[in-house]
């Protein structure tokens, strides 16, 4: 009987010990203890995927030995599927990803996606990429005034989701009468459509258009979101120079790193430090220079503030965006 009592008591003590182990919150010193999953809402090979893999590769240098950042591609619905995965994961800091902003806010303005960008834990920004309004060299348009004076300008794009919401915002602010040719399966298809003469112009990120701008397949008309002229296209005015400073704020493609809402404060701080170190790492910056993939690092707090401001501006565009989204 005594033996039974001792065994039962030991079992109870062990059980209580396990409970303490599970219930005790993981401290920042323990984090991270396992691999971190990084979701990308696009297929491998594209810009979001490439930046993600480059940052993930650098992050591993700052993680405890043996831990990795696993990049998981989850394409679908212009990154909304990946956003839902991150948003609804356990808020333990082990599920993060790259978010195309403010593009992912636009579906939230009109529908009910399974995420809320206003609650995401923002960890940092890799790049605020300028967008370029460019005319096909096959078209007759060479300046913004040419577009504004035309009866109709055919604009090729994939759709009105994601970063390409920049196209209708740009046309509306410039007062250009645009006819949108949507349905292209990617930016490459839309650019090819313009190059063969099925469209007159496109609005895409500078990185996507760069090769075609440099080989003169496209003529850059307006640079938005940069603030200053790009030395590779020195004749292209900025939106502010052209008299449309609001486009510099509204139309830029943000590649932002975000995690699940509700990540504990100490883990959030650790993640933000990890990402900040990675995107300022000398090897990462060297890669950026060699591969001509620019970066514009922002820390988590600055990202949070900047995005909050942009989302308010987008709320002001509701009437313009409604006719494209519904």
């Amino acid at each position: 009987m005594k033996k039974v009592f001792v065994v039962v008591l030991m079992g109870v003590l062990v059980f209580i010990g396990f409970c303490f182990g599970f219930l005790t919150p993981v401290s920042a010193q323990d984090f991270p203890k396992k691999n971190i999953r990084w979701f990308v809402g696009y297929s491998p090979g594209g810009g979001f995927d490439t930046y993600s893999r480059a940052v993930a590769r650098t992050m591993e240098k700052y993680l405890p030995k043996g831990l990795h950042v696993i990049v998981v591609n989850r394409p679908g619905s212009a990154s909304q599927q990946a956003a839902s995965m991150i948003y609804n994961a356990k808020p333990d800091g082990y599920t993060i990803g790259i978010w195309p902003m403010p593009g992912l806010y636009v579906p939230q303005m009109f529908f009910e996606p399974k995420y809320d960008v206003k609650k995401v834990t923002w960890l940092g920004t890799v790049l605020v990429e300028p967008m370029v309004l460019a005319a096909s060299s096959k078209s007759d348009f060479r300046t913004v005034k040419d577009l504004q004076g035309a009866k109709s300008v055919r604009l090729a794009l994939t759709g009105f989701t994601g970063p390409e919401i920049a196209a209708p915002i740009t046309m509306e602010k410039l007062g250009v009468k645009a006819q949108y040719i949507t349905g292209h399966t990617g930016s490459g298809q839309a650019m090819l459509a313009a190059m063969r003469g099925d469209a007159d112009a496109v609005v895409f990120s500078y990185g996507s258009l760069r090769k075609l701008l440099l080989d003169k397949s496209f003529v850059p008309l307006l640079l938005m979101g940069e603030g200053k002229r790009n030395p590779e296209i020195p004749d292209c005015p900025t939106a502010t120079e052209a008299g449309y400073p609001e486009l510099d704020d509204l139309v830029a493609a943000w590649r932002v790193i975000g995690g699940t809402p509700g990540i504990p404060e100490d883990q959030k701080k650790k993640l933000r430090e990890l990402i900040w170190k990675s995107i300022n790492d000398p090897e990462f910056l060297e890669w950026s220079k060699k591969s001509k993939r620019p970066v514009s690092p922002l820390d988590g707090i600055a990202t949070e503030r900047a995005l909050a401001k942009i989302l308010v501006q987008y709320d002001g565009l509701r009437d313009i965006l409604e006719k494209y989204m519904k």
Binding site: S43, P44, G45, G46, D49, T50, R53, A54, R57, V72, N73, R74, P75, G76, S77, Q80, Q81, S84, P113, K114, R154, G159, F160, T161, Q179, I181, T182, G183, H184, T185, G188, Q189, M191, L192, A193, M195, R196, D198, A199, R210, K211, L212, L214, D215, S217, E286, W287, K290, S291, K292, R293, M325
Partner: protein, 496 residues
Amino acid sequence: MFDLKLFVSMLANMVGWPGILLLISGTIIGMIFGAIPGLSGTTAIVVLIPMTFGMDPGTAMLWLAATYGAATYGGAIPCILINTPGEPPNAATILDGYPMAQKGKAGMALGSAATASTLGGFIGLLVTLLMIPVLTRFLMAFSYQEFFMMALLGLCIIAIVGEGTLIKGLASGFFGIMLSFVGYDPITSVLRYTFGIQYLWDGIPVVPALFGLLAIGEVMDLLVKERAVAEAQSARASRRQVWAGVRATFKNMPLVLRSSALGTFIGAIPGVGGTVAGFLSYMQAKQTCKNSENFGKGDVRGVIAPEAANDAKEGGALLPTLAFGIPGSSAMAVFLGALTLHGIDVGQDIFVANLDVVYMLILAALGCHMVAAVIGLSVADKMAILTRIRPTLITPVIFVVCLIGSFALRNNMGDVFVTFLFGLLGYEMRKFGFSRIALILGLLLGTMAERSFRQALMTSTIWRFFTRPISLVLFLAILAVLILPYVRAYRKRGDI
């Protein structure tokens, strides 16, 4: 300008050490990934990329290009052995590859697939490199009208291939087109027929549906009938059978050349899709070869044509990638990403600053086809043994591999359910004689046809379909495809 000294130097690197090791290991990895449904050549590259971070870019490209190039042949293996394409572009190989296996000629099918893949890969690359200016103009001549006609031509294959009667084939095809309407409207982005289910926003995924219809449906049939894939005594595949396949391919060189050229041209047009290349090549083979009534019943030419086109298309896909920096296929997109991760600017300077990497990419693509042919031919007779294994042993393995393959595509459990549901549908369709290939074609090409038709009407009038030269030629080809079988049948009756 072609730099012969640099080209020879890269060739020496490839056949030296450790180049040769990477070439062979990449080829083996690619064949394995291609052969396992759900694990494509693109997946293989994505998995290997982190392992290349310590390598110089040229060496990295050698390994990655060898892996991808071999996967396109690897995808033919499950087509022939278990009625399931390793990747969707291999789907057309099933039409005659699997019937060959059922007749006990799996070795011959595998031998001809290996040879046709190698020759097609070579021809595709050479044609692309020699005809860049011509292909560039051709690419630019393809607009929405041509895309629509291509999709329509692909849909016409329903009329001439597959199981069951024409009416049942058309019914399956139209059902597939109906299913293609689920999800975002390609033009307005309005959601259609999703019933509030977020999983359906991007439509019914083609690859999991394909696995279900073909593999799972077939597996269920094998289990119910308690038979192996091949019953015939002649299923004892031997080296002789494999070499018979090789000889048959060389005997049909005009077909190989035609199919490779077709594959190259289609591969050069981004957005058409690799699957179309295989099916169109099959169709042209059936329309142009003698005794075409044997197609669909285990005719080796029905394996040669799609396999040659399938490998040639990758050569074509290099064109927009190198010429414009616009990926010609999803694999090219991953290659561009890999180059960027290695610090290479994939802009116009790549031909100046990194010509060595470009040459290595091309050499590796050529080299891996040779290595894949040697390996493929060496093990083809061993692989054919799978067709004789008892269904109670092989079917659970195929079942699990397909479900895992479905999950591996997008890390999405929904894809597994789709595979399972379409598996049940595929079994019933097989039982009642409805063409599963027709359904897949409808699902695959329905969106492309709808999108390009509406884009064409956004930019011009309906008459432009008939006034643009290439569009008109394709329209006439469609009429020929539909009318020729009746003309032939009428002539035959006249001759009797």
